[in-house]
Symmetry: C2
Subunit: 177 residues, 2 copies
Amino acid sequence: MKYCSTCGATVSHRVPEGDRLARFVCDQCGEIHYINPKLVVGTIPVWQERILLCRRAIEPQLGFWTLPAGFMEMAESTAEAARRETREEACAHVRLVGLFSMVNIPHISQVHLFYRAEMDDASFAPGDETLETRLFALEEIPWDELAFRSVSLTLRLFLEDRERSHYGFHEATLAPK
Amino acid sequence: MKYCSTCGATVSHRVPEGDRLARFVCDQCGEIHYINPKLVVGTIPVWQERILLCRRAIEPQLGFWTLPAGFMEMAESTAEAARRETREEACAHVRLVGLFSMVNIPHISQVHLFYRAEMDDASFAPGDETLETRLFALEEIPWDELAFRSVSLTLRLFLEDRERSHYGFHEATLAPK
Protein backbone atom coordinates (compact mmCIF):
# COMPACT_ATOMS: atom_id res chain seq x y z
CA MET A 1 0.00 0.00 0.00
CA LYS A 2 1.42 3.36 -1.09
CA TYR A 3 -1.65 5.58 -1.41
CA CYS A 4 -4.75 6.21 0.72
CA SER A 5 -7.75 4.50 -0.89
CA THR A 6 -10.05 7.18 0.56
CA CYS A 7 -8.29 10.44 -0.41
CA GLY A 8 -5.43 9.43 -2.74
CA ALA A 9 -2.60 10.98 -0.64
CA THR A 10 0.49 9.00 0.34
CA VAL A 11 0.47 6.72 3.38
CA SER A 12 3.13 6.02 6.03
CA HIS A 13 3.70 2.68 7.73
CA ARG A 14 3.75 3.55 11.43
CA VAL A 15 2.23 2.66 14.80
CA PRO A 16 -0.87 4.83 15.35
CA GLU A 17 -1.38 6.37 18.81
CA GLY A 18 -2.82 3.80 21.21
CA ASP A 19 -2.00 0.89 18.87
CA ARG A 20 0.80 -1.69 19.15
CA LEU A 21 1.31 -2.61 15.50
CA ALA A 22 2.43 -0.60 12.49
CA ARG A 23 -0.44 0.24 10.10
CA PHE A 24 -0.74 2.14 6.86
CA VAL A 25 -1.84 5.62 7.97
CA CYS A 26 -2.81 8.39 5.53
CA ASP A 27 -0.45 11.39 5.67
CA GLN A 28 -3.33 13.71 4.76
CA CYS A 29 -6.72 12.51 6.06
CA GLY A 30 -5.29 10.34 8.86
CA GLU A 31 -7.30 7.25 7.98
CA ILE A 32 -5.84 4.01 9.33
CA HIS A 33 -5.96 1.16 6.80
CA TYR A 34 -6.19 -2.20 8.57
CA ILE A 35 -5.20 -5.37 6.74
CA ASN A 36 -6.42 -8.68 8.17
CA PRO A 37 -6.17 -12.41 7.40
CA LYS A 38 -8.45 -13.96 4.82
CA LEU A 39 -10.75 -16.96 5.04
CA VAL A 40 -10.63 -19.68 2.39
CA VAL A 41 -13.68 -21.95 2.60
CA GLY A 42 -14.48 -25.24 0.89
CA THR A 43 -16.01 -28.69 1.15
CA ILE A 44 -15.20 -32.39 1.17
CA PRO A 45 -17.97 -33.46 -1.25
CA VAL A 46 -18.87 -37.14 -0.86
CA TRP A 47 -20.94 -39.32 -3.18
CA GLN A 48 -21.31 -43.01 -2.31
CA GLU A 49 -18.04 -43.27 -0.38
CA ARG A 50 -16.09 -41.35 -3.00
CA ILE A 51 -14.67 -37.82 -2.77
CA LEU A 52 -15.01 -35.21 -5.50
CA LEU A 53 -11.74 -33.48 -6.39
CA CYS A 54 -10.99 -30.71 -8.90
CA ARG A 55 -7.89 -30.39 -11.07
CA ARG A 56 -6.90 -26.72 -11.07
CA ALA A 57 -7.04 -24.75 -14.34
CA ILE A 58 -5.36 -21.69 -12.77
CA GLU A 59 -2.24 -20.78 -10.86
CA PRO A 60 -1.10 -21.38 -8.20
CA GLN A 61 -0.71 -25.15 -8.54
CA LEU A 62 -2.21 -25.40 -12.03
CA GLY A 63 -2.80 -29.06 -12.93
CA PHE A 64 -2.87 -30.25 -9.31
CA TRP A 65 -5.90 -31.70 -7.52
CA THR A 66 -7.78 -29.86 -4.79
CA LEU A 67 -10.99 -29.86 -2.82
CA PRO A 68 -13.40 -27.18 -4.07
CA ALA A 69 -12.59 -24.04 -2.04
CA GLY A 70 -11.95 -20.34 -2.42
CA PHE A 71 -11.90 -16.93 -0.78
CA MET A 72 -15.00 -16.08 1.26
CA GLU A 73 -16.86 -13.07 -0.18
CA MET A 74 -18.38 -10.10 1.62
CA ALA A 75 -21.94 -10.52 2.95
CA GLU A 76 -21.98 -14.31 2.86
CA SER A 77 -21.66 -16.90 5.63
CA THR A 78 -18.95 -19.55 5.74
CA ALA A 79 -21.60 -22.17 4.85
CA GLU A 80 -22.78 -20.14 1.86
CA ALA A 81 -19.17 -19.67 0.73
CA ALA A 82 -18.55 -23.42 0.97
CA ARG A 83 -21.61 -24.30 -1.11
CA ARG A 84 -20.91 -21.54 -3.64
CA GLU A 85 -17.31 -22.63 -4.21
CA THR A 86 -18.47 -26.23 -4.70
CA ARG A 87 -20.98 -25.07 -7.32
CA GLU A 88 -18.52 -22.78 -9.08
CA GLU A 89 -15.52 -25.11 -9.20
CA ALA A 90 -17.21 -28.49 -9.58
CA CYS A 91 -20.82 -27.67 -10.66
CA ALA A 92 -21.90 -29.84 -7.72
CA HIS A 93 -24.71 -29.20 -5.26
CA VAL A 94 -24.12 -30.29 -1.69
CA ARG A 95 -25.72 -30.45 1.72
CA LEU A 96 -23.25 -29.46 4.45
CA VAL A 97 -22.90 -31.95 7.30
CA GLY A 98 -20.67 -29.92 9.61
CA LEU A 99 -17.38 -28.05 9.86
CA PHE A 100 -14.56 -30.59 9.66
CA SER A 101 -11.25 -28.72 9.66
CA MET A 102 -9.81 -25.29 10.37
CA VAL A 103 -6.26 -24.97 9.11
CA ASN A 104 -4.29 -21.88 10.11
CA ILE A 105 -1.50 -20.78 7.76
CA PRO A 106 -0.10 -17.72 9.58
CA HIS A 107 2.86 -17.11 7.26
CA ILE A 108 0.42 -16.30 4.44
CA SER A 109 -2.25 -14.86 6.79
CA GLN A 110 -4.95 -17.33 5.76
CA VAL A 111 -7.39 -19.56 7.62
CA HIS A 112 -8.81 -22.49 5.62
CA LEU A 113 -12.15 -24.07 6.58
CA PHE A 114 -13.48 -27.32 5.13
CA TYR A 115 -16.99 -28.67 5.63
CA ARG A 116 -18.04 -32.30 5.28
CA ALA A 117 -20.64 -32.35 2.52
CA GLU A 118 -23.01 -34.87 0.94
CA MET A 119 -23.57 -34.43 -2.79
CA ASP A 120 -27.26 -34.13 -3.75
CA ASP A 121 -26.71 -36.39 -6.76
CA ALA A 122 -23.92 -37.70 -9.00
CA SER A 123 -23.82 -34.64 -11.25
CA PHE A 124 -20.63 -32.61 -11.42
CA ALA A 125 -18.48 -30.96 -14.08
CA PRO A 126 -15.44 -28.68 -14.32
CA GLY A 127 -16.16 -25.01 -13.56
CA ASP A 128 -14.24 -22.13 -15.18
CA GLU A 129 -11.21 -22.53 -12.90
CA THR A 130 -11.14 -26.34 -13.13
CA LEU A 131 -9.63 -28.62 -15.80
CA GLU A 132 -11.24 -31.84 -14.64
CA THR A 133 -13.53 -33.08 -11.84
CA ARG A 134 -13.54 -36.68 -10.70
CA LEU A 135 -14.83 -38.87 -7.87
CA PHE A 136 -12.01 -40.71 -6.12
CA ALA A 137 -12.42 -43.79 -3.97
CA LEU A 138 -10.45 -43.28 -0.76
CA GLU A 139 -7.65 -45.60 -1.92
CA GLU A 140 -7.36 -43.70 -5.23
CA ILE A 141 -6.67 -40.22 -3.80
CA PRO A 142 -3.72 -38.76 -5.78
CA TRP A 143 -1.62 -37.85 -2.70
CA ASP A 144 1.41 -36.81 -4.75
CA GLU A 145 -0.62 -34.52 -6.99
CA LEU A 146 -2.56 -32.54 -4.38
CA ALA A 147 -2.38 -28.76 -4.74
CA PHE A 148 -2.21 -27.54 -1.14
CA ARG A 149 -1.08 -28.80 2.26
CA SER A 150 -4.39 -27.76 3.88
CA VAL A 151 -6.12 -30.10 1.40
CA SER A 152 -3.81 -33.08 1.99
CA LEU A 153 -4.04 -32.58 5.77
CA THR A 154 -7.84 -32.37 5.63
CA LEU A 155 -8.10 -35.49 3.45
CA ARG A 156 -5.73 -37.42 5.74
CA LEU A 157 -7.78 -36.46 8.82
CA PHE A 158 -10.97 -37.38 6.96
CA LEU A 159 -9.63 -40.86 6.18
CA GLU A 160 -8.50 -41.33 9.79
CA ASP A 161 -11.92 -40.32 11.11
CA ARG A 162 -13.65 -42.56 8.60
CA GLU A 163 -11.46 -45.46 9.74
CA ARG A 164 -12.83 -45.11 13.28
CA SER A 165 -16.36 -44.24 12.08
CA HIS A 166 -16.39 -40.97 14.00
CA TYR A 167 -15.96 -37.55 12.40
CA GLY A 168 -14.71 -34.77 14.68
CA PHE A 169 -13.66 -31.15 14.22
CA HIS A 170 -9.95 -30.62 13.65
CA GLU A 171 -7.80 -27.55 14.14
CA ALA A 172 -4.25 -27.35 12.83
CA THR A 173 -1.56 -24.80 12.06
CA LEU A 174 0.86 -25.15 9.15
CA ALA A 175 4.38 -23.74 9.43
CA PRO A 176 6.39 -22.64 6.37
CA LYS A 177 7.88 -25.62 4.53
CA MET B 1 -12.53 2.95 -1.90
CA LYS B 2 -11.95 5.82 -4.34
CA TYR B 3 -8.24 5.56 -5.14
CA CYS B 4 -5.86 2.73 -6.02
CA SER B 5 -3.65 1.97 -3.01
CA THR B 6 -0.85 0.85 -5.33
CA CYS B 7 -0.63 3.74 -7.85
CA GLY B 8 -2.95 6.48 -6.51
CA ALA B 9 -5.17 6.69 -9.61
CA THR B 10 -8.98 6.52 -9.36
CA VAL B 11 -10.76 3.18 -9.22
CA SER B 12 -14.02 1.98 -10.79
CA HIS B 13 -16.44 -0.47 -9.20
CA ARG B 14 -17.05 -3.06 -11.92
CA VAL B 15 -17.02 -6.78 -12.66
CA PRO B 16 -13.53 -7.75 -13.91
CA GLU B 17 -13.28 -10.12 -16.88
CA GLY B 18 -13.84 -13.70 -15.77
CA ASP B 19 -15.26 -12.65 -12.39
CA ARG B 20 -18.89 -12.65 -11.20
CA LEU B 21 -18.79 -9.88 -8.61
CA ALA B 22 -18.07 -6.16 -8.85
CA ARG B 23 -14.63 -5.22 -7.47
CA PHE B 24 -12.68 -1.98 -7.15
CA VAL B 25 -10.45 -1.96 -10.26
CA CYS B 26 -7.75 0.66 -10.87
CA ASP B 27 -8.44 2.81 -13.94
CA GLN B 28 -4.71 3.18 -14.55
CA CYS B 29 -2.69 0.12 -13.44
CA GLY B 30 -5.62 -2.34 -13.59
CA GLU B 31 -5.06 -3.78 -10.14
CA ILE B 32 -8.11 -5.51 -8.67
CA HIS B 33 -8.64 -4.69 -4.98
CA TYR B 34 -10.42 -7.55 -3.24
CA ILE B 35 -12.23 -6.92 0.05
CA ASN B 36 -13.04 -9.94 2.21
CA PRO B 37 -14.74 -10.71 5.54
CA LYS B 38 -12.81 -10.29 8.77
CA LEU B 39 -12.26 -12.72 11.63
CA VAL B 40 -12.90 -11.63 15.22
CA VAL B 41 -11.38 -14.09 17.69
CA GLY B 42 -11.75 -14.39 21.45
CA THR B 43 -12.05 -16.68 24.47
CA ILE B 44 -14.43 -17.80 27.19
CA PRO B 45 -11.92 -17.55 30.08
CA VAL B 46 -12.91 -19.75 33.03
CA TRP B 47 -11.54 -19.70 36.59
CA GLN B 48 -13.10 -22.04 39.14
CA GLU B 49 -16.51 -22.21 37.45
CA ARG B 50 -16.64 -18.47 36.85
CA ILE B 51 -16.32 -16.61 33.55
CA LEU B 52 -14.15 -13.53 33.03
CA LEU B 53 -15.94 -10.65 31.30
CA CYS B 54 -14.68 -7.20 30.27
CA ARG B 55 -16.64 -3.94 30.40
CA ARG B 56 -15.81 -2.03 27.23
CA ALA B 57 -13.97 1.31 27.46
CA ILE B 58 -14.43 2.02 23.75
CA GLU B 59 -17.18 2.28 21.17
CA PRO B 60 -19.11 0.45 19.92
CA GLN B 61 -21.05 -0.63 22.99
CA LEU B 62 -18.99 1.38 25.48
CA GLY B 63 -19.92 0.37 29.05
CA PHE B 64 -21.32 -3.03 28.04
CA TRP B 65 -19.84 -6.40 29.00
CA THR B 66 -18.10 -8.70 26.54
CA LEU B 67 -15.86 -11.71 26.27
CA PRO B 68 -12.26 -10.73 25.43
CA ALA B 69 -12.07 -10.73 21.61
CA GLY B 70 -10.84 -8.66 18.70
CA PHE B 71 -9.78 -8.58 15.08
CA MET B 72 -7.27 -11.25 14.09
CA GLU B 73 -3.97 -9.74 12.95
CA MET B 74 -1.76 -10.68 9.99
CA ALA B 75 0.75 -13.51 10.51
CA GLU B 76 -0.91 -14.98 13.60
CA SER B 77 -3.06 -18.08 14.06
CA THR B 78 -6.61 -18.01 15.43
CA ALA B 79 -5.30 -19.55 18.68
CA GLU B 80 -2.60 -16.88 18.99
CA ALA B 81 -5.18 -14.16 18.31
CA ALA B 82 -7.47 -15.57 21.02
CA ARG B 83 -4.70 -15.64 23.63
CA ARG B 84 -3.41 -12.19 22.65
CA GLU B 85 -6.83 -10.56 22.89
CA THR B 86 -7.34 -12.13 26.33
CA ARG B 87 -4.00 -10.71 27.47
CA GLU B 88 -4.63 -7.27 25.97
CA GLU B 89 -8.21 -6.76 27.13
CA ALA B 90 -8.19 -8.57 30.48
CA CYS B 91 -4.46 -9.01 31.34
CA ALA B 92 -5.27 -12.71 31.74
CA HIS B 93 -3.21 -15.68 30.61
CA VAL B 94 -5.12 -18.70 29.37
CA ARG B 95 -4.70 -22.21 28.05
CA LEU B 96 -7.05 -22.89 25.13
CA VAL B 97 -9.21 -26.00 25.47
CA GLY B 98 -10.82 -26.02 22.03
CA LEU B 99 -12.84 -23.99 19.56
CA PHE B 100 -16.35 -23.57 20.97
CA SER B 101 -18.33 -21.33 18.63
CA MET B 102 -18.20 -19.87 15.13
CA VAL B 103 -20.77 -17.13 14.64
CA ASN B 104 -21.30 -15.80 11.13
CA ILE B 105 -22.59 -12.24 10.81
CA PRO B 106 -22.88 -11.84 7.03
CA HIS B 107 -24.54 -8.40 7.06
CA ILE B 108 -21.36 -6.93 8.56
CA SER B 109 -19.03 -9.45 6.83
CA GLN B 110 -17.57 -10.82 10.05
CA VAL B 111 -16.96 -14.31 11.44
CA HIS B 112 -16.56 -14.52 15.23
CA LEU B 113 -14.66 -17.42 16.82
CA PHE B 114 -14.63 -18.16 20.56
CA TYR B 115 -12.37 -20.70 22.26
CA ARG B 116 -13.02 -22.34 25.62
CA ALA B 117 -10.10 -21.33 27.83
CA GLU B 118 -8.81 -22.13 31.31
CA MET B 119 -7.16 -19.24 33.13
CA ASP B 120 -3.64 -20.01 34.37
CA ASP B 121 -4.35 -18.25 37.69
CA ALA B 122 -6.77 -15.74 39.21
CA SER B 123 -4.89 -12.67 37.97
CA PHE B 124 -6.66 -10.28 35.63
CA ALA B 125 -7.05 -6.53 35.22
CA PRO B 126 -8.56 -4.07 32.76
CA GLY B 127 -6.49 -3.51 29.61
CA ASP B 128 -6.42 -0.21 27.68
CA GLU B 129 -9.77 -0.84 25.99
CA THR B 130 -11.49 -2.14 29.13
CA LEU B 131 -13.14 -0.23 32.03
CA GLU B 132 -13.49 -3.19 34.37
CA THR B 133 -12.82 -6.94 34.43
CA ARG B 134 -14.72 -9.31 36.66
CA LEU B 135 -15.34 -13.02 37.21
CA PHE B 136 -19.03 -13.88 36.98
CA ALA B 137 -20.63 -17.02 38.37
CA LEU B 138 -22.91 -18.49 35.71
CA GLU B 139 -26.05 -17.23 37.47
CA GLU B 140 -24.59 -13.70 37.68
CA ILE B 141 -23.98 -13.12 33.96
CA PRO B 142 -25.35 -9.64 33.11
CA TRP B 143 -27.50 -10.77 30.17
CA ASP B 144 -29.10 -7.35 29.66
CA GLU B 145 -25.76 -5.58 29.60
CA LEU B 146 -23.88 -7.74 27.09
CA ALA B 147 -22.24 -5.85 24.24
CA PHE B 148 -22.75 -8.16 21.25
CA ARG B 149 -25.15 -10.88 20.10
CA SER B 150 -22.28 -13.24 19.26
CA VAL B 151 -21.22 -12.98 22.91
CA SER B 152 -24.69 -13.60 24.38
CA LEU B 153 -25.23 -16.53 21.98
CA THR B 154 -21.85 -18.04 22.86
CA LEU B 155 -22.48 -17.68 26.60
CA ARG B 156 -25.96 -19.19 26.28
CA LEU B 157 -24.57 -22.20 24.36
CA PHE B 158 -21.78 -22.52 26.94
CA LEU B 159 -24.30 -22.67 29.80
CA GLU B 160 -26.41 -25.24 27.91
CA ASP B 161 -23.37 -27.44 27.26
CA ARG B 162 -22.26 -27.12 30.86
CA GLU B 163 -25.74 -28.20 31.99
CA ARG B 164 -25.32 -31.49 30.14
CA SER B 165 -21.59 -31.78 30.99
CA HIS B 166 -20.59 -32.01 27.34
CA TYR B 167 -19.01 -29.17 25.39
CA GLY B 168 -19.39 -29.31 21.61
CA PHE B 169 -18.55 -27.05 18.70
CA HIS B 170 -21.33 -24.69 17.63
CA GLU B 171 -21.91 -22.88 14.36
CA ALA B 172 -24.51 -20.16 14.00
CA THR B 173 -25.47 -17.31 11.69
CA LEU B 174 -26.92 -14.03 12.94
CA ALA B 175 -29.39 -12.10 10.77
CA PRO B 176 -29.81 -8.32 11.03
CA LYS B 177 -31.97 -7.37 14.05
